[in-house]
């Protein structure tokens, strides 16, 4: 009990540092959530309309059909039939696409040749989009022509067909209109607070207890080694659970119940708890490795920031190359971030998603176990010294 109280005394002295880290983290999480999250829910769908100019030099039924068809889905813009004007309008993006129906277009079409000309912004997505639309229309007319319809009839039928519009309904797969819940952003950035806070707070305690002379004095005492280790583990566990509990309470207060109101709440809890276990074992390891407060600060920054950047906590992992993603898959923060992504994107979890979440949790706990083993090895080496 006395050893436990000793840990408690030293932890008490570092609690201010821990609170500071949680406050900084909560501040950052709120700012990021406000800037990224408050874009409203997506309840409606409408296709993008592009500014398109049609220059019909022939004045036939084919040109009229193309004009009418494009008018249905795009915004038609009138421009002069002049090469310099066309280039200027495209340059200033007043129009995105210019369709020219030249003289003899119908004849060329009937002969199976290229019937229309286009001037567009090279390499743009609109180029491919509208090329595909126009080709589709011309192909449909061609099919009707082969079927024995006249060009007028074929154009009429295709236009009539294109007037039928499909109804688009958005699926609300996460119960929040497709938007991630506010508390999901909180959980997304939580690992940094847990890692940085726990390393700074608990490693300092480890550093105090591993001093050679103090270790010697405690070893000489009447307290068995197993009881000393038990006391240390209990103290760490209580601090870890308390910090985790505070973090959960903060999100519940900030977001009116937060994850507690979600159907995935239990997974949010388990994921953050696994992250806390990782943070505790890393704190133990860092405390064993560092000999001075300066060194501990350096190790803390490298470990907490490094894990958060490479694990996709601060920046989405997709922004890095596939090589980095592969390397990141060895990090617990990567799996934390993946689980948080799934929980944010989906309201009802499929069996596959559950499997993925369980795998992520298991990998985090395995990482913690590996970390603990390394710490034990380091501790043995240090004791021999």
């Amino acid at each position: 009990m006395r050893v436990f109280k000793g840990y408690g005394n030293i932890i008490k002295r570092n609690i201010g540092m821990m609170i500071m880290y949680i406050c900084i983290f909560v501040g950052i999480a709120i700012v990021i959530q406000k800037s990224l999250g408050d874009t409203g829910t997506v309840e409606d769908f409408s296709a993008v309309k592009l500014a398109v100019a049609v220059i019909d030099r022939e004045g036939g039924v084919l040109g009229d059909t193309l004009k009418s068809y494009l008018e249905q889905e795009q915004t038609l813009v009138e421009i002069e039939d002049d090469e310099q004007t066309i280039q200027e309008e495209l340059f200033y993006r007043n129009v995105r696409y210019v369709l020219i129906v030249p003289q003899g277009a119908q004849e060329a079409f009937e002969n199976g040749e290229t019937a229309v000309q286009t001037i567009k912004v090279p390499g743009s997505s609109t180029e491919f989009y509208l090329d595909a639309k126009i080709n589709s229309l011309l192909n449909q007319i061609r099919v009707y022509r082969i079927g024995g319809f006249s060009l007028d009839e074929a154009c009429g039928k295709v236009l009539a067909l294109s007037e039928h519009k499909g109804k688009v309904t958005l699926l609300d797969i996460n119960g929040n209109g497709g938007q991630r819940a506010d508390y999901n952003y909180y959980f997304a950035y939580l690992p940094y607070a847990l890692l940085a806070g726990m390393i700074m707070c608990l490693s300092t305690v480890i550093m105090a207890f591993k001093q050679k002379e103090i270790r010697r004095r405690i070893t000489c005492s009447a307290v068995p080694l197993y009881r000393q280790n038990l006391a240390a583990a209990a103290a760490f566990l209580i601090v870890g659970l308390a910090v985790w509990g505070i973090c959960m309470a903060v999100q519940a207060v900030l977001y009116r119940g937060g994850a507690f109101t979600s159907t995935n709440g239990i997974w949010y809890m388990l994921n953050s708890l696994a992250c806390m276990v990782v943070a505790m074992t890393l704190a133990y390891l860092c405390g064993m490795l560092a000999n001075t407060m300066g060194a501990l600060n350096g190790i803390n920054n490298v470990v907490s920031l490094g894990l958060c950047f490479l694990g996709g906590i601060f920046v989405p992992i997709e922004m890095f190359g596939s090589g980095i993603e592969k390397a990141a898959s060895f990090l617990p923060t990567y799996w934390y971030s993946r689980i948080n992504g799934i929980l944010g994107d989906y309201g009802n979890l499929s069996a596959e998603m559950l499997q993925s979440i369980l795998k992520g949790l298991a990998i985090q706990l395995l990482f913690a176990a590996a970390c603990f083993c390394v710490t034990m090895a380091v501790s043995k080496v240090r004791q021999r010294e």
């Binding site: 009990m1 006395r2 050893v3 109280k5 000793g6 005394n9 030293i10 002295r13 570092n14 300092t204 105090a208 001093q211 050679k212 002379e213 103090i214 010697r216 004095r217 405690i218 070893t219 000489c220 005492s221 009447a222 307290v223 068995p224």
Partner: protein, 310 residues
Amino acid sequence: MIHIENLVKRYGDLVALDHFNLDIREGEVFGLLGPNGSGKTTAINCLLSLLKYDKGTITVFGKEMHPDSYDLKRQIGVVPQNVAVFEQMTVWENIDYFCGLYVKDREERKRLTEEAIAFVGLEDYRKMFPRKLSGGLLRRLNIACGIAHQPRLIIMDEPTVAVDPQSRNRILEGILELNRKGATVIYTSHYMEEVEQICSRIMIMDHGRSIAMGTSEELKSMIKTGETIVIEGIVLTDAQLKEIAKLPHVFDTDYNEENTLTVKCTSARHNLVRLLNYLQEQEVAFGRVLSELPTLNDVFLEITGKELRD
């Protein structure tokens, strides 16, 4: 109380303790004296089961000492050479913490902590953190942490290293006070004056072995030197120097370029009077005259051929 027999401890090829034997009786202040690397701390570490040894037996309070001999450890207090306290705890919390490693009862612990604070004179500093204390006060806190549980056996490993004279005297008086209260003390040091001042028996160690053991007087009687006479500012001829060397009980003389004469005599009466009478007869003028009785350093020097602080 403590019996160590044929203890051997090796670090690779280096023999740190070479068939080391030791017997300490209850109520003693026992001094372990020796230069750095002589094996004092290794012997203490083996005694406390902090180190595994290769051969030999260690018995404390009549029982064999093992790493898990917690009933024996409960009766031992350790004051390490370097200050071993928590920077994050106050003076009171530190003493209370280390006392708590031995004493479970809260009330008793509180009483013992207060007594230890009073014993080392840290009453005015109980709420201060160690970083605010001076070197001497830190040493006192270090001692308080080791003795707060009022152990039967106290092991002090060079507790006065880098301590100012005032704090050193207070610490030495404290050790004698602890001994008067019934504690047996093992005191390791390479400061021979301290050991001579407080220890009832002394063991001189070198190369992991005991080279001499006994009271201060017993150790000094083991050597030839009984008195060393130093005369400064004296001018002598070779003939006069030869005459001095032939005086009764003189067995060694040294006359250096700074005109200082050192005469070593065996333990006998009136050596100084005889020498001064001879100089008067010869009408030799001289300056300051010093007569020194042998020290433990002389004992060590004569036995090993080197200085204790080498």
